[in-house]
Symmetry: C2
Subunit: 132 residues, 2 copies
Amino acid sequence: MSQIPDFSKGDGLLPAIAQDAASGEVLMLAYMNREAWEQTLSTGTAVYYSRSRGQLWKKGEESGHIQNVRAIYVDCDADTILLKVDQLGGAACHEGYPTCFFRRWNGTNYSVEVARVFDPAQVYDPAHDKPQ
Amino acid sequence: MSQIPDFSKGDGLLPAIAQDAASGEVLMLAYMNREAWEQTLSTGTAVYYSRSRGQLWKKGEESGHIQNVRAIYVDCDADTILLKVDQLGGAACHEGYPTCFFRRWNGTNYSVEVARVFDPAQVYDPAHDKPQ
């Protein structure tokens, strides 16, 4: 059988969903290459591959909002990863929201139903690109 | 502001996560192009784009395991979609499991902790490619 996850798919980058281990809330989607996957396994904290920066990205390395991994699942096609995590700081999103999925379609437009946990300007160096 | 979702990203194909609206379980990840997105909005049931078949894929068109969409979210970067759905038939996975994420990493290997809801051989035409 092919390797699981199968990094021969997706040009070596597979989507990884982070879900809050306690609440079940879907927090974000990022990407992993094999090195990010192996570092996630070995460190027990989520490490992704930043497509915009072209390098490994330890989630929370700048904000402190680390994700401690509680469980890891791989899907039927071996090309998507699901992490159940404890999200430190209570916010997964670089815009300061608990989840990156803070915009809900209301039929004609989008509504934001959740409050920010932090002000991004207070957390990130303005000279720095967005973390993802 | 760019369109939301922004189909200029990802070569026009964006990942879409389906989450059970009642239990919060993450069921699957598939992809949408603009047409799949628009059909999902207009029909209220999940329509994806099958990368393997190169065509629109109304989830459940063969198995009957349709996803009725209860809520739609788009992430901060406008390049990932989250659907909260009612999964008809109790199984999202073409292998017969409630969720496609039925394989859990146990530290050295994978364990399957959930039972099949259906036998794929009884649901899909064997001449047919897998639905995703």
